[in-house]
Symmetry: C2
Subunit: 311 residues, 2 copies
Amino acid sequence: MYAIGIDIGGTNTDIGLVNPQGEVVARKNLPTGQYTDANQYADDLANTIKALIDEQKVEVKGIGIGAPNGNFYTGCIENAPNLNMKGNIYLAKMMEERLHIPAVITNDANAAAYGEMVYGGAKGMKHFIMFTLGTGVGSGIIIDGKLLYGHDGFAGELGHTIIFPNGRPCKCGRQGCLEQYTSAGGIRKTCLEMMEQDPYYDGILSKIPAEELDSKAIGDAANQGDILALRVFEFTGGILGLAMANAVAFSSPEAIFLMGGPVKAGEVLLEPVRKSFNLNVLSNYKDKVKIMVSQLKQNDVAILGAAALVN
Amino acid sequence: MYAIGIDIGGTNTDIGLVNPQGEVVARKNLPTGQYTDANQYADDLANTIKALIDEQKVEVKGIGIGAPNGNFYTGCIENAPNLNMKGNIYLAKMMEERLHIPAVITNDANAAAYGEMVYGGAKGMKHFIMFTLGTGVGSGIIIDGKLLYGHDGFAGELGHTIIFPNGRPCKCGRQGCLEQYTSAGGIRKTCLEMMEQDPYYDGILSKIPAEELDSKAIGDAANQGDILALRVFEFTGGILGLAMANAVAFSSPEAIFLMGGPVKAGEVLLEPVRKSFNLNVLSNYKDKVKIMVSQLKQNDVAILGAAALVN
């Protein structure tokens, strides 16, 4: 039977209809960032799902939702720092009330990890970690072939491990979180800082208006050989590699997967990631951990993972 | 039936005979630090175990060993940075060959975590982390009521997560590991550094010869109100609290347990640990994680955990 998979990001909500073969056969989206009222969001989300189901004329057995701070145990999005909707949002229940279809919720990065395990490059792996780089930095951790939820449902918030005590202020209210350095916005911030420190820089990025200087533009410049852009990714990759090495000392995974916008920059990011990881990983783990890019289409992985949770 | 539980630390090896009620009824020890040859160590260990069994005139069903870098999957101590015996030591097999009793091995901190769950303050808990502070800093991680081993058997080396990039050099060959700040030796090092920076300090510790300045002496001084000693523990607790907060973002445990020599200092360490943890933990987890001291006798916990592994 069909399932609905939903990937809620800080900027966009992707809604997909997934067939029994694990393919996204139709999709719609909503601009998450524009909502401050959870009821309004739930209404629009339910109407969008309804439209998708009606258009495709199929029966749906369940709704799987991947959302920042989504708690599998409670079906609630709890105080997600990356959303403009604040407080506790019991979105699973809100969908069930509006659509009369069973709904489950998990962390968006958990959904991505689950999707990678069921459909992607982690097929058959029992221990791996997925880092999702986007508006925020999320992580989904697979232990013994299962998603790690921990005592209260919130395991796997590696984007909010503190890498630099007293570092950059984070939306979560603390300082120096991994997210502040390796999210799309973190990469942009690093770039702006480096440009400020280098007033004589007149490369590709100096021609781009500051407000358009996003991680994609910086990635493109790096791939054209721009030295400042390459330094931005060297710094970013260095920090990510260190965080990955520390994560490996926790769960000793077979692989670490990366996905999200900044990962599309390719080797300009991955090469410094590998270099830093090898430098910073404890010798016990050396040459044992594969560093991989998600092998699913980025727009599909979290939708597929969320839909797979319905089973 | 009886079991042998062995706790191998960098300095000492404690060998205990454990009765079916989970009590250590007899014990012996060996000075681990004095061995550089693994065969010699295995011979002496086997002879000590044999003497213990013969003296007590009991039948033993198995030997459980907790050792630094002990790999449950392979029965091997692999390149333990805290031992003077180098390389791979297949100690489980070496014991089975010498004694004809089945032997299993795990990380010493894993054994302590397991002991805490079976016999101590973590009874009934499904998700917790044990930090062991001693010659090194170890950790044992319980996920869903089971020890976390990961892909290759080496999960849970939180003492070797990097807290300060480019920080103090570590025996493992890298820099800035948690162990270098929160082990007994790390605390001593912090103290010596602070004394060097403060030439006018004339408190309790200034009367102790440098070679006798260990974490116990510093703990005693702190408990007598010595301000420099208190600062040492504030610094140590601050770092440990941060590391604990980062660990919580990984596995979202119900509790974190602490054990080992430096923990005996009591509130002078625990108060700054709690302060730093509360300051550094992501709001999702705030007021959800218990910070506890091991409720088993320190000399028993790893022995009991190792022996329990035999079951």
